[in-house]
Symmetry: C2
Subunit: 420 residues, 2 copies
């Protein structure tokens, strides 16, 4: 039953053409059946998940990671619902993006096609196993999954359940592969399987992403590191600024689109920062400011700290904010472009010119005026689903829906043309 | 005057925002002036080029490479014309690709923006220096050029001339950088300047591209390796097949979209292959066939040879063709998908179903029916210019015009929205 990494990748590569040509109807039925299979096998999946949890507890895994690893009835229901939602989305494959006739009579069309074989490398979160497969499959790609080794029993059970549906629908086996080996050496070899794998998407923390970028020879889309800034301009509605920062900082703390850093124009800092402090106090949000910010906040306030250079670039994923006071929009933009991770930034202002300048000059995937950075999300953008949020500029930027998992090919209709 | 690699990359990164915001009018004027400057400095450029040529001759550089390295009046005119043509193209930057209002009132627009800093690594062809800069600049990007060390004097002269125009137009210096150091270690460090450089495009032979892919941590677009196939179906117009293959093989021999391999349906092989042999004889095209092909061609014919396994995957760039006889369209497609480089393939047929199947199932950037593969080219596709032909599926596939050098950002207009 167990096959080697090479065989797994080669099988996916071989099957990519057939998987890429599946009709939307077949793909949708398969996803619905895979959802049913997850529910039908809930008992086994939870039993296997308990093995992972037990091992995690023995290895003193932190509570947050144990929580991400844990499955229960509601979470399996969530995974099944996720697959059903993906089934309900439009099939992106086959769309003719453009088509035109050239002077020599050649008709050149640009047709949306799958990427081929996509490798997803992620942490010990078994729900990603179903989600990543669903998105890759709906977009006509073969998925090779490498989940965190701490979730290996759970992942095997989830994949086994979904494979029943694939088998029933006679989907080529290469459509879904799970790398079962948990050693690092296998992962490193996987990242160099350029002959068979077209794209790697790492999903997880900065360390995981850095490791993939440094070692992969396969093209990578980097996702999910967010040191998101909100800039409170001198022309801001300060109440709106408080409301938006409070939302962006505290509505969900451990996510990449949460606000980590704020920048405040000096003209409003003295009035605004104490307002913000009051609003964030109930969440015990520590505020690490430069000298001016600390002065406005009050150095003796319990949650006020002095920022170090290192703070400006930090993605805290915690109840901490860095606070920088600036003299101008130019200084704000320069600070943001220096320290951000090109994820999401927002300006709070009522001034038209300042707003446009911010949108133009801040170099990020998502730039907002008067809204929370928490909206940087595939569902919120109307994509119906999301494989991650790209922080690079190549191929896909920002929230990635199904289209981000596609490429295109040129199809050219001739009648004997040769090049003069 | 000389600055370090790090300074060069950091300067480009810093200037990318200002370069990205230049008006089309300013960019066009700059390109026109750069074209003028090349002509005004023709004498110095030719003098510096002669130094490179002299060194090349002393080092016994092959004639083909010397020819690519050589500049003369016509070639400098060609470089200037190239820049003027780029000036005449539409500016891709700033286009709003889509925009919509979400139920919560957020207005989300997708705006085309430059990639930022693009590194081009190429061989000893000084004309690429002008061309690559022109395309990067028109699309709002900063270009860092690393040309083959054998052309270093020519490249310095070309860049110096163009920089006069940039200086006159007050373009930020980071818009154009040339890596003057010719040692390998510098190139290797360049490929890892991920903090400052957003994209690497290698232009050149398979060895150069492989080296960049293996060593870069910056995202790479692979270009230009073409083992292009033409499949002569049993329902082909055989005269058309001869005409197209003759064009694709011999019209220009050393280019990536030239035909290197043909596949012939057994039902027509006996009639067709001798026709093709006659047509290609005047060019002394060697035909390396499998057993069936050799039998149809005649083993005793002077240009007929037996193919080895290695032949199927070769990009000859020479007057040689591999010839495979197959029993079906499925076998043809399987052979092509196994050995091609995902560049361009063509089928010659009059049968509708077979044509559609070929377009669907052949996994290449450009798939043709009844036309020469030589049309895979930015100009022929109507893009007006070309930075290369991508053989990967990420970001850009096939001929890459100005749009391939752009990314996008989401600009989001709110009025106080927070995430519930």
């Amino acid at each position: 039953m167990e096959i080697s990494l090479e065989q797994l990748c080669e099988r996916a590569h071989k099957d990519r053409i057939r998987v890429g040509m599946l009709d939307a109807e077949v793909k949708n039925q398969t996803l619905m059946k895979a959802a049913d299979a997850l529910l039908a096998h809930e008992e086994e999946i939870l039993k296997e998940n308990e093995k992972d949890l037990e091992r995690g507890r023995q290895n003193h895994m932190p509570a947050g990671l144990l929580d991400r690893l844990a499955l229960n009835h509601d979470r399996i229901l969530g995974m099944a619902d996720g697959l059903r939602q993906i089934a309900a989305l439009d099939d992106p494959i086959g769309e003719v993006i453009s088509m035109k006739k050239r002077p020599n009579g050649l008709i050149i069309g640009k047709r949306r096609v799958p990427i081929g074989v996509i490798g997803i490398i992620y942490e010990a979160r078994p729900n990603v196993t179903a989600d990543a497969f669903g998105l890759c499959f709906k977009s006509g790609n073969c998925a090779i999954l490498k989940g965190g080794s701490d979730a290996i029993c759970s992942n095997k059970a989830v994949v086994a359940a979904m494979k029943e549906a694939l088998c029933e629908m006679q989907i080529p086996e290469g459509a879904l592969g799970l790398i079962e080996s948990t050693d690092r050496e296998t992962t490193n070899r996987f990242m160099k399987m350029k002959e068979y794998v077209d794209l790697l998407i790492p999903r997880g923390g900065a360390g995981l992403i850095r490791n993939v970028v440094d070692n992969a020879t396969i093209p990578v889309i980097e996702t999910g590191t967010g040191n998101c800034h909100i800039y409170v301009d001198q022309f801001a509605d300060l109440d709106m600024a408080v409301s938006i920062i409070k939302n962006a900082k505290t509505q969900r703390i451990g996510v990449c689109n949460a606000c980590e850093s704020i920048v405040v124009h000096r003209a409003v800092a003295e009035e605004f920062l104490p307002m913000l402090y009051q609003a964030l106090k109930e969440y015990d949000v520590k505020m690490r400011g430069d000298d001016s910010a600390v002065e406005c906040l009050g150095a003796d306030q319990p949650l006020v700290e002095k920022a170090t250079e290192e703070d400006w670039g930090r993605e805290y994923l915690d109840y901490i904010l860095s606070v920088k006071v600036v003299d101008s929009i130019d200084e704000a933009i320069a600070h943001i472009n220096k320290y951000n991770t090109s994820h999401s930034e927002s300006i709070i202002t009522k001034n038209y010119d300042v707003a446009q300048k911010f949108l133009d000059e801040v170099d990020s995937a998502c730039v907002y005026v008067n809204a929370s950075t928490r909206f940087s999300d595939g569902n919120e953008f109307g994509f119906g689903a999301e494989i991650g949020i790209s922080t690079q500029k190549l191929h896909a930027r920002g929230p990635m829906g199904l289209e981000a998992l596609t490429s295109y090919k040129y199809v050219i209709y001739g009648n004997g043309q040769v090049r003069p």
